[in-house]
C-alpha cells in the first residue's frame, strides 16, 4: 500500500513527541516531512535555563538529533519557515520555495514571546528568552556588559535573571504584578522567594510599568524608563512577559483560530485533514505553555493519526517548578483558592518553609510549597486522583512520608542529596547517575529512569526520591502520573482500571480475547501485561477463565521460588505456624536425601528449604507430603500466630486456632499482590498484627480487625477496621475485605496502597455497613476458592505440568 504523506510544520517538543508516539503506534503508515524554522533539531526548551547558567550545554539538552530523523526516514527541513498552506491542493510552501504535499498536516507552530509595544523594543540588546539564539545572545551580553533588566517576574523571567546573575551581570527584575510568580505562588511564598533571590544579589522593581527602552550613543539599549519617570541602566533587556500562541500561518490559511488554533478534543482543526498540537492550539478556549499537557496532547494526536481513533484530550491539573538551583518551589492545581475553598497553611519564615494546601468539597485541589517540596509529588497525585481527604486531613500537611524507610539512610529529600549519595539501595545507583541519564537521554518518566538506570526497578522504595530528582531536573515536564492513570505497559494505552472494567463488563475470559477486544498492539502481550491480565481474568471469572501458566512468573508457574543460581526454595505450609515431630522428621529426611544446602526458619513461622534443583521439586514435594506454602506467589502467604489462650498466661483468645482456621479458609487464594495475615491473642500483639494486610488482635470481649499493614519496604501500620465478637464474624469480615481487594486492586498493588487509593471510608461502607454486600463478597471469595487445589499435590500425584520439571536430552544424531 502506498504510504500517506504527513507534513509537520514546527519542530519543537510537542510536535516531535507526537511523531515519537506515532512511530510507536504505526511506524510504516506515513512518509513524514518536518519543517523547522530554527536551524537546530529538537531540543529540550525547558532546559534553556541551565544552559544559560552554564550548568548544561546545548548538546546535553538535545532530545532528537538529526540522526534520529534519518533513522526514522523523516525528511527534515531545518531553517525553513513555512509561509503558506494551500489547503485546496494540500501543499505547504516554505519561504525559500521548498514545497511538500500532504495527506494529513500537523501544525506544531508553538508560541511566540510577547513583545511589549514600547518605543525602543527593536534596539540592539533587547531579546526574549525563547530559543537557543536568545540564550547565545544573552551569554554574549553577559561577557561584555554589566547591567541587565529582565521584564517579567514569572518563571521564565526569574530563570533568565538567575542565569544572567550567575554569569556576573547585575540584574534587575521588573514586574507589573504585586508579587513575583503571581501565576504560580501566593503572596507569602513569593515574598520568601524574593528575599532569597535578593540575598543572591538580584534586585526587584514591583508594580512598575515599562514606558520606553532608551538607546545609548552607540545605538544599543542603555536604560529602561518607567511610566512613573524612574529609569534604570540596562545594557541588556530580556522580555519575559509571556507567550502568545503562534497561529498566523493557520489563520492566513483560513483555518479557524481564536487566540490559538481552535481544536476539538481529538486535536483536530476545522479542516479535518489538519491537526494541531502544542502551545499553538486553543482547546476549549485554553492555551497551554507547560510541557505536561502538551505531551498528553501529543499522545491524543498520535492516536488519531494512527487511525486508532479512541483518544480524547482531557485537561488535567498541572504542576510547576522553578528551575533555580537551591530554590525549592512547587505548585500544582488551583493554589490560590477563593470562594468555597478552604486553606490549610504552614508558615515558618525563619526556617524558610511555607506550605499551603487548598481544599474544596473534601478534595485537595491545589498546593503551593516553598522550601520543602518533598511531598509535591504526593499532593499532585491526590489532586489528580480527587480522593476524599477528610480521613487524613489532620496529617495532610505533614506529608505522606512517601519515601521508603530502607536503603537510603532515611534520606527523603532529593534536593539535599549529593551526587554520590545512593538513591537506589537495591541496584546501587547514586543520584549523579540518575541526573546524568535524565539529562543525556532526555527522560521524562520514572519508568524511563528505571529502564536506563535500574534505579527504583527492584523493590521500588526509592521511587519517590527518583520522582523528586526527575521533577528537579525537568520541572513540569516530569510525567508523574499515578498508576491509576498510567497505561499498563507499552502494549496498550489503557490503564489497569480500564482493562479490569472491560474484562468484567464485556465478559472477556481469555488473554487472546482480551488482546483482540482491546486492540492490543502486540500479538501476545509482554511480561508486564500478561501476568496482570491473567490475574484479572481468573479473579473476575473464577471457574470460567482458564489460568494460563505461560502468563505467570516462573515462581507461580512451578510453585517454588527461583534463586539467583537458578535453584528453587521450597516452603511447605504449616497451618498457623504449628508443626509436629512427624513433619519435622520428614523435612529433615528430605533435606538429607536431596542434599539441600540450607534449611532456614522464615519470618512467617515456617521452614524454608533452599537450593533445591528444579527437577527434584516434584520428588521433594512428594516426600514432604505437606501442602504448598504459596511462599512464591501473589497469593495468601502465611497466617502468623502467637501462642494464645491455650498456653499463654496473658492470652485472652485462642489466636493459634483462629490463625489455623483463617489459613485453611483462605488456602489457595490468588491476589493482586502477596497477602499476609496475623492473629494475636491479646493486645501485646506478639504476632505483629499491626504490620499485616489483615491483622487480628484478640481482646477479652472479641476480636479487633486491622487492615493495610506492611512490614516491608516502607513500614505501614495497619488501620483499625472494626471489632467483632465471634469467630465466624472474623472469617466473614476478613474474607469480605480480601475479596474486595481481589476484585478492585490493580495487579501488584498491596493492600496498603489499595486502601490509600480508595479510602478507608469506602472500605467501611462496603465491608461494614452493607451487610448484604459483605456476605456476597465473602460468598464470591468462597466460590473462587472452591476451584483451588493444592498445586504440589496436583503436580506430584496428578502429573500436572510434567514438562516443566523434566530437562531434555539429546536423543539421536543425524548427519
Amino acid at each position: 500500500m502506498k504510504k500517506l504523506k504527513l507534513v509537520m510544520v514546527g519542530n519543537g517538543m510537542a510536535g516531535v513527541r507526537t511523531l515519537e508516539e506515532l512511530l510507536k503506534l504505526t511506524p510504516e503508515l506515513y512518509d513524514i516531512t518536518v519543517f523547522g524554522a530554527e536551524p537546530h533539531a529538537n531540543y529540550n526548551r525547558i532546559l534553556l535555563s541551565p544552559v544559560l547558567t552554564g550548568e548544561q550545554t546545548l548538546p546535553e539538552i538535545m532530545l532528537n538529533d538529526v540522526d534520529w530523523y534519518a533513522e526514522h526516514g523523516i525528511t527534515l527541513h531545518l531553517g525553513k519557515e513555512v509561509v503558506e498552506i494551500d489547503r485546496g491542493r494540500r501543499i505547504v510552501r516554505a519561504a525559500d520555495g521548498t514545497e511538500a504535499e500532504y495527506d494529513r498536516l500537523l501544525l506544531a507552530t508553538g508560541s511566540n514571546p510577547f513583545i511589549l509595544p514600547v518605543p525602543g523594543k527593536e534596539l540592539d540588546g533587547v531579546v526574549t528568552f525563547r530559543d537557543i539564539h536568545d540564550v547565545n545572545t544573552m551569554i554574549d551580553a553577559a561577557a561584555n556588559h554589566r547591567h541587565a533588566v529582565v521584564i517579567g517576574g514569572g518563571l521564565l523571567g526569574l530563570e533568565a535573571a538567575n542565569g544572567l546573575s550567575v554569569r556576573g551581570m547585575k540584574v534587575t527584575v521588573v514586574h507589573l504584578g504585586e508579587w513575583l510568580l503571581d501565576r504560580q505562588l501566593d503572596r507569602t511564598a513569593a515574598a520568601m522567594l524574593q528575599d532569597t533571590l535578593q540575598e543572591r544579589g538580584l534586585s526587584f522593581l514591583l508594580q512598575k510599568q515599562t514606558a520606553e527602552l532608551v538607546a545609548g550613543s552607540n545605538g544599543r539599549v542603555a536604560s529602561v524608563r518607567f511610566k512613573d519617570g524612574d529609569e534604570v541602566p540596562a545594557d541588556l533587556v530580556v522580555m519575559a512577559v509571556g507567550i502568545r500562541p503562534n497561529f498566523n500561518l493557520a489563520e492566513q490559511s483560513g483555518i479557524y483560530c481564536d487566540r490559538g488554533i481552535v481544536v476539538n478534543d481529538f486535536m483536530q482543526t476545522f479542516d479535518p485533514r489538519v491537526y494541531a498540537v502544542g502551545e499553538c492550539v486553543s482547546h476549549r478556549g485554553v492555551s497551554y505553555g507547560l510541557v505536561a499537557p502538551l505531551f498528553d496532547m501529543a499522545k491524543v494526536v498520535a492516536n488519531h493519526l494512527a487511525n486508532f481513533g479512541i483518544a480524547r484530550y482531557v485537561p488535567a491539573a498541572t504542576s510547576t517548578k522553578l528551575k533555580v538551583t537551591g530554590v525549592d518551589l512547587f505548585s500544582a492545581g488551583n493554589f490560590m483558592g477563593g470562594d468555597g475553598h478552604e486553606e490549610i497553611t504552614l508558615s515558618d519564615p525563619v526556617g524558610g518553609i511555607y506550605k499551603k494546601l487548598i481544599v474544596k468539597d473534601d478534595k485537595l485541589v491545589g498546593a503551593c510549597l516553598y522550601g520543602d517540596t518533598a511531598d509535591g509529588g504526593w499532593y499532585f497525585r491526590l489532586i489528580r486522583e480527587g480522593h476524599a481527604i477528610h480521613e487524613m486531613r489532620e496529617q495532610l500537611m505533614l506529608g505522606e512520608g512517601a519515601i521508603g524507610d530502607t536503603g537510603h539512610q532515611g534520606q527523603n529529600r532529593a534536593m539535599g542529596m549529593s551526587d554520590d549519595a545512593e538513591v537506589c539501595g537495591c541496584n546501587g545507583v547514586c543520584k549523579g547517575s540518575i541526573v546524568k541519564a535524565i539529562q543525556e537521554k532526555g527522560l521524562f518518566t520514572v519508568d524511563e529512569v528505571k529502564k536506563h538506570t535500574k534505579a527504583a526497578s527492584s523493590c521500588g522504595s526509592c521511587t519517590g526520591l527518583v520522582e523528586q530528582i526527575l521533577i528537579n531536573c525537568v520541572g513540569g515536564a516530569a510525567d508523574v502520573k499515578p498508576k491509576s492513570e498510567k497505561a499498563i505497559c507499552g502494549c496498550t494505552d489503557l490503564n489497569h482500571g480500564q482493562v479490569r472494567q472491560a474484562i468484567r463488563e464485556r465478559h472477556l475470559t481469555s488473554l487472546a480475547d482480551t488482546f483482540t477486544a482491546l486492540d492490543w498492539r502486540s500479538v501476545d502481550g509482554c511480561s508486564s501485561c500478561r501476568p496482570a491480565i491473567n490475574y484479572y481474568l481468573i479473579s473476575s471469572w473464577p471457574g470460567e477463565a482458564k489460568d494460563d501458566p505461560q502468563s505467570r512468573f516462573i515462581n507461580e508457574r512451578v510453585h517454588a521460588n527461583i534463586q539467583k543460581d537458578g535453584t528453587y526454595s521450597v516452603i511447605p505450609r504449616m497451618w498457623g505456624g504449628v508443626t509436629n515431630p512427624s513433619e519435622l522428621r520428614r523435612i529433615a529426611d528430605v533435606a538429607d536425601k536431596y542434599d539441600i544446602p540450607m534449611v532456614k526458619v522464615t519470618g512467617g513461622q515456617r521452614i524454608d528449604l533452599l537450593g533445591v534443583k528444579k527437577e527434584d521439586l516434584p520428588k521433594v514435594w512428594a516426600d514432604l507430603n505437606m501442602p504448598s506454602g504459596h511462599a512464591y506467589g501473589k497469593s495468601l502467604r502465611t497466617v502468623k500466630t502467637c501462642v494464645g489462650s491455650e498456653f499463654c498466661r496473658f492470652g485472652t483468645q485462642d489466636s493459634t486456632q483462629m490463625g489455623i482456621d483463617l489459613e485453611k479458609d483462605l488456602f489457595g487464594m490468588w491476589s493482586p499482590a502477596k497477602v499476609k495475615l496475623a492473629v494475636s491473642g491479646c493486645p501485646r500483639n506478639c504476632a505483629e498484627s499491626g504490620i499485616k494486610d489483615v491483622g487480628i488482635i484478640g481482646v477479652d470481649s472479641g476480636w479487633e480487625l486491622y487492615i493495610g499493614g506492611n512490614g516491608g519496604i516502607k513500614t505501614e501500620v495497619a488501620e483499625f477496621l472494626c471489632k467483632v465478637k465471634t469467630h465466624d464474624e472474623v472469617m466473614v469480615y476478613s474474607g469480605a475485605f480480601l475479596q474486595l481487594y481481589r476484585e478492585e486492586a490493580f495487579y501488584l498493588e498491596r493492600t496498603v496502597h489499595y486502601l490509600h487509593r480508595v479510602g478507608m471510608e469506602y472500605i467501611k461502607q462496603r465491608v461494614l455497613e452493607d451487610e448484604v454486600g459483605r456476605n456476597e463478597l465473602y460468598a464470591r471469595l468462597k466460590f473462587a476458592l472452591s476451584f483451588e487445589q493444592d498445586p504440589w499435590a496436583e503436580r506430584t500425584k496428578g502429573g500436572v505440568a510434567r514438562h516443566e520439571f523434566a530437562p531434555l536430552s539429546i536423543e539421536t544424531v543425524t548427519a
Binding site: K441, K451, E811
Partner: protein, 105 residues
C-alpha cells in the same frame, strides 16, 4: 557445509510461549523456546546480565524476559533489548515435520 543437526524433541514437547532446557555435560545448558506462532529459537540458557536461566522467563512476541531482573532478550539474536546491553549466544535451530533440531558443534 552441512551442519551437525541433532534431534532434540518434538515441537509439542514445548508449550507455546514456553521453553525447555537441554542439559549438557560438556557445555552450558541450552534453552529452546517456542513462540505463540510456533517459531522455535535456541539460546545459551544464561542471561548476559547475571547469568539467570532464560528458559524460566516469560516468552512474548520474539523476546524472553529473564526471571531474575527482567532483562528482555531477543530470541533470534540473543541480544538484550535497549537500553540494556549484552548478548546470550544463540544456537542454530530448525523445525522439520514437527521435530526440533539443533546444530551443536
Amino acid at each position: 557445509m552441512s551442519r551437525n543437526w541433532k534431534t532434540i524433541c518434538q515441537l509439542n514437547d514445548i508449550p507455546a510461549q514456553g521453553a525447555r532446557v537441554l542439559k549438557r555435560e560438556d557445555g552450558d545448558d541450552i534453552a529452546i523456546f517456542r513462540t505463540i506462532d510456533d517459531q522455535v529459537f535456541a539460546l545459551v540458557d544464561k542471561c548476559p546480565h547475571k547469568g539467570g536461566p532464560l528458559s524460566q522467563g516469560i516468552v512474548s512476541g520474539r523476546t524472553v524476559t529473564c526471571p531474575l531482573h527482567n532483562w528482555n532478550i531477543d530470541l533470534a539474536t540473543g541480544e538484550a533489548c535497549a537500553p540494556d546491553e549484552g548478548c546470550s549466544g544463540h544456537i542454530p535451530v530448525k523445525l522439520e515435520a514437527g521435530a526440533i533440531f539443533l546444530a551443536l558443534d
